[in-house]
Point group: C2
Chain length 338, copies 2
DNA sequence: CTGAAAGCGCTTACAG
DNA sequence: CTGAAAGCGCTTACAG
């Protein structure tokens, strides 16, 4: 993996200085737009730089200045459009703030995650936005913070420790969805998809809470856990239908699961919105375009990414500020599936 | 955006050297695993490094060595799962080869693209994988190459210039899809979605070629251009159905368009696979899960990303090697929509 | 096998 | 307003 030295030595600030007949300090000053330099000199330097094809070497500048304009972003599952949207929002906000994103995709591998975090540290990332891989030990948040690099955890929490967090209020969102079905008269409501873990617990708890608030009993036998994918949703719906032929409503762990469930419904000659009430969670871009369009809990994925970025930028600017947990309150968006 | 200097000075190679009672050159040597250093010394150095919590400063090392292990990846449209999959494949391959990816999302903005490329250059990226934003001037490939940084263009070509390219054979893929419909007896076939540009031209040409090969005339009035999204596909299908009520088959610019078209079909009481033959393009992950599952042209998006990475890595290792154009031959995957 | 020295390309006090 | 000098943290000949 040797990088050959560039055939022709890169032009540096020194070359520009020589060409413009000033010292390299002066060049540095005009490059950063210092007001100390008179316009005439400044012009001359700029012209020389342009003429020589000078390109700023950030690595050198940042090494000297002990700063960085790269921020690390680690995502687990780009195949889920939810995360792709979060990433897009995050990157946009970071770019607008002048940062470039060092991105890594872990595919839920703890090993990859650890490796990539270390690399980001070695690269002196100015901050890290992390959506922890499944089964990430809770201690990771403290570990990262002990590195002295600003951190924001997003989407999935990481134990009880103290760290900035940006995510959606899962319990509240599912509660709203459940209430909607309850209000429509449903009393037996399935819950489909999701793998054991905090996130599933949070979403389920919203479901239970809505039942409890209504003075009703939630039937735990109607919970069909499954991987949070289309396939998982498809299979979970089949299991639900097989076990409970009379069931007429379900809430899904996320939109992907709902899309899969829609397929299974379809295969059984059932039409969501007519024969069955189905709710998703996330409101990914595609939810508006499923068959039928999906009623879901809108967590605004791209905004969530932007918020994570904003939080991280704030932490970077003010390392000492109190930690924040941003729990966006998702809103119901009712389309045709329920 | 000031970064305060870390409260406590970072521990450097010098500190480790002092602790291990050797010179900093020795530390550097053991860190890179040089065989010159006897095990005993090496142990001592490692222990000292661990004990002090030393972390390698890549920036300094790379500045000195004039190397880099970051590669830039620019993508336009993360909302399209096709690109998310390409990105995932690319990142995986790069990570496996020891590189970290500097990622940027342009949303098809030429301005963002230019800015981000410049930043990547300033960061001394070891290479760049670029999927050019729409309307990117063909000269960009030469510009980038004149920077002396290894480049691979992916998915969308960039004029006739000379550069490494990894993409799918659009014409061939659409030709296969068209042949499939022709073989099923269809003679009037719509073409839905896609914005004016080279990519649309390539895909259309495949369609025309298949007709020509069969000695049939392709009716250009059946082309309904539209943005390559679900909405675009939905609208295009509506237009097609309105203009040609008897039409029974169509090929879509990509899977997203096909998903939208499926919705429009559904609204018209038409069922793809029974009343209508519909083909997509890309074979994104979701294509297997639409209603009905989509027959499409499989370009293997993740593999495409991996190939782009492989090509880039090869160029980085051998700057002088002849340029390559990798045009993956997509294969038909027949599910239920046609 | 290990140390002293120079240098990667920049920034930043400090003089003048 | 501008220059000389030191230094960010590393690597790499070069001696010994």
């Amino acid at each position: 993996m040797m990088n050959k030295p560039p055939s022709v030595r890169a032009v540096t600030i020194l070359d520009v200085a020589a060409a413009a007949q000033v010292s390299k300090s002066t060049v540095s000053l005009v490059l950063k737009g210092s007001p100390l330099i008179p316009a005439e000199t400044s012009e001359r330097v700029r012209a020389a730089a342009a003429q020589l094809g000078y390109v700023y070497n950030r690595r050198a500048g940042e090494l000297r200045r002990q700063s960085s304009n790269m921020v690390g972003v680690v995502i687990n599952d780009l195949m889920n459009p939810f995360f792709a949207e979060v990433l897009a929002g995050l990157e946009r906000r970071l770019a607008d703030a002048g940062f470039i994103t060092l991105m890594a995709h872990t595919s839920e591998s703890l090993e990859r995650q650890q490796k990539v975090l270390t690399t980001m540290r070695e690269h002196n990332a100015a901050g890290i936005a992390l959506c922890p891989a499944l089964d990430t030990p809770a201690s990771l948040a403290q570990d990262l913070q002990s590195w002295g690099i600003p951190l924001v955890v997003m989407i999935r929490t990481l134990g009880e420790g103290s760290y900035d967090f940006a995510g959606a209020d899962n319990a509240h969102g599912v509660m709203a969805a459940t209430r909607h079905l309850l209000a429509a008269g449903h009393r037996r409501i399935g819950f489909l998809g999701g793998l054991d873990g905090l996130m599933l617990e949070q979403r389920l708890s919203g479901c239970r809470a809505a039942f409890a608030d209504a003075g009703l009993a939630f039937d735990e036998d109607l919970v069909f856990s499954a991987s949070p994918t289309r396939t998982g949703g498809h299979d979970a719906m089949r299991s639900l239908l097989a076990a409970q032929p009379a069931i007429k409503a379900a809430i899904c762990y996320n939109d992907l699961v709902a899309f899969g469930a829609l397929s299974a419904l379809d295969e059984n000659g059932l039409r969501a919105g007519k024969d069955f009430a189905l709710m998703g969670f996330d409101n990914v871009f595609d939810a508006a375009h499923s068959h039928p369009p999906l009623s879901t809990v809108d967590v605004r994925p791209a905004e969530l990414g932007e918020q994570a970025a904003t939080l991280l930028l704030a932490r970077m600017a003010h390392p000492g500020q109190p930690r924040q947990q941003l729990l966006a309150r998702p809103k119901l968006v009712l389309r045709q599936s329920a």
